[in-house]
């Protein structure tokens, strides 16, 4: 993203006064680039249901729907908040020139024609940029649910997500992705969101975790995954969609997208192997959950770096991410912090690895706006910027997330009651059950009680004659 946006920044894009209208620039929209970024946007959207399954398979049966719903509803909440407010906060003209947050100039997508004008190098429609970026804003808060699984009240969770999108996601996206952002201007490199998405989400989760504490009974009570095929299905969808995430971040269908694509796949493959090899060495057997987790760790780690490293870099970053994240997942027991589905172990550790290793493996051999890292003669400057970026994003996200969680907890209560937690999210939060497999008991042990209370104009159906129309 950095690559192309840089040029845009240097031309006219973020100065509403000089910007020409879409119509005027229309000929420079390249339909091929548009086609790829539209497809990429759809791919990234699909990642959120994918994540829902990745997570839902790992929780106990009684929480399957609660987990799915927490991910699903983010598509609704952020989908609306983004076009109304947060897009503008993230990508609007910088507010006051501090590089901290954007103004509300593009709120409700007003004046959007003035932004992301096809300039010297940005060849996609402005709205395509809006929707592509939206999908990142959607999946990021959804990642938080992996840490906080099984114990948040649904309503309070929704409120938290909206606040978090506004007060955490939008500023950080501005810092890193927007040409006016202060990290962007220091040329900290983050191709597709290692800091903005992964480190940010993991710290968001940690912030909430410090408020809501561990699950009841953890770690003593066994909390086995209830449906690992779902977890692998989710991981498969994530891998698939991540090509849009990473290769789409070139904002064009050019050679750079191709490099990002091959790096993404290579690192993911290497991380998959890295994770299961470590498992094999430590436990004697490699696991399917490990294979799925390793792939995700690789995808996370290559996210910031896919446009800045070469194939060797991708291989090393991926392999290290797989192996190290595998080991890192055990740490939560040591710290006695119930990061339920290992968001810290995978997204924080993987995200940091990916961001920091750019400082070593970065090379501008195929990406002219990229800088060389330590191993390619660029000195430690890039490494310093990368570390600065990681620390600032992590620190800001953790602090503000913790404060937001405290506010919501004090006002509405973030955590479910012990009894609700025991019953499970599905029944306690949604009055639903995930599965009804008891082929025999189904339909006999339950009774349809009363009518359709949901309809204001429908009378109770007690009088309806069954089976007759």
């Amino acid at each position: 993203m950095l690559t192309t946006m840089l040029h845009v920044a240097q031309s006219c894009a973020f100065n509403p006064d000089t910007a020409s209208t879409v119509k005027g620039c229309a000929p420079t929209v390249n339909q091929g680039d548009n086609a790829w970024i539209l497809a990429s946007s759809a791919l990234v959207l699909f990642m959120t249901p994918g994540l829902a399954f990745f997570y839902a398979g790992m929780v106990r049966r009684k929480n399957v729907l609660g987990m799915i719903m927490q991910n699903w509803v983010v598509m609704g909440l952020v989908g609306v908040v983004w076009v109304l407010v947060t897009y503008s906060l993230a990508f609007g003209p910088d507010w006051g020139g501090h590089g901290f947050v954007g103004t509300l100039h593009f709120a409700g997508l007003m004046h959007i024609d003035q932004q992301a004008v096809p300039g010297e190098s940005l060849t996609i429609s402005p709205i395509v940029f809006v929707v592509f970026q939206m999908m990142f804003a959607v999946i990021t808060p959804a990642l938080i649910t992996g840490t906080t699984a099984d114990r948040m009240k649904f309503g309070a969770y929704c409120v938290f997500i909206v606040l978090w999108s506004i007060f955490v996601y939008a500023p950080i996206a501005h810092w890193v992705f927007s040409p006016g952002g202060w990290l962007f201007q220091r040329t900290a490199e983050d191709f597709a969101g290692g800091t903005v998405v992964h480190i940010n989400a993991a710290m968001g989760g940690l912030g909430v975790l410090l408020v809501i504490k561990n699950r009841k009974g953890w770690p003593g009570t066994p909390m086995k995954p209830h449906n690992l095929p779902f977890t692998v299905l989710g991981a498969g969808i994530l891998w698939f969609g991540w090509f849009g995430f990473n290769a789409g971040s070139a904002l064009a269908a050019n050679n750079l997208s191709a490099h990002a694509f091959v790096n993404t796949n290579t690192a993911t493959a290497a991380a998959l192997l890295g994770w299961i090899i470590v498992e094999k060495l430590k436990n004697g057997k490699s696991t399917t959950l490990g294979g799925a987790s390793g792939a995700v760790a690789g995808l996370v780690a290559i996210t910031p770096s896919c446009g800045f490293v070469n194939l060797l870099g991708a291989l090393v970053i991926g392999f290290l991410a797989g192996g190290i994240c595998c080991l890192a997942c055990g740490l939560k027991f040591k710290f006695n912090r119930d990061d339920a589905l290992d968001v810290l172990g995978v997204h924080f550790v993987g995200g940091v690895l990916g961001a920091v290793l750019i400082g070593f493996f970065g090379t501008n051999s195929f990406n002219s706006v990229a800088r060389d890292g330590l191993f390619y003669g660029g000195g430690a400057g890039l490494l310093g910027e990368q570390c600065l970026g990681v620390v600032c994003v992590a620190g800001f996200s953790l602090a503000v997330s913790y404060i937001l969680a405290q506010i919501v907890d004090k006002t509405m209560g973030l955590r479910m009651s012990e009894e609700d937690e025991e019953i499970g999210m599905d029944l306690s939060q949604h009055d639903e059950e995930g599965y009804d497999f008891d082929s025999v008991l189904s339909g006999v042990r339950s009774t349809l009680t009363g009518g359709q209370p949901i309809s204001p104009f429908a009378k109770p159906t007690a009088g309806a004659t069954p089976g007759e129309a």
Binding site: E422, D431, G450
Partner: protein, 112 residues
Amino acid sequence: MRLVTAIIKPFKLDDVKAALQEHGITGLTVSEVQGFGRQKGHTEVYRGAEYTIEFTPKIRVEVVVDDDDAAGIVDVIAKVARTDKIGDGKIWTTYVDDVVRIRTGERGVEAL
């Protein structure tokens, strides 16, 4: 010998098993059942259609024991499985003629 059958709340299984082991029981058989009784079920709603689930999931524990042990075992279970809330379940005992351990062909108390 006696067959002790206990219908208990699922989350009590661990405690009951541990207590029985302490009491010297080396084997038991467990199954999933649906209980109907004073304890109310719950409600589920799907697109506005409301279902009442009247049965609640329970665990059935079965242990065959020597006649003399039966009363003690019943007491152990009754004590450990108790939460004082409706739906704690029942225990009953029935008379068993004969027991065989399949692996060895042993019979009676030897077979337990």
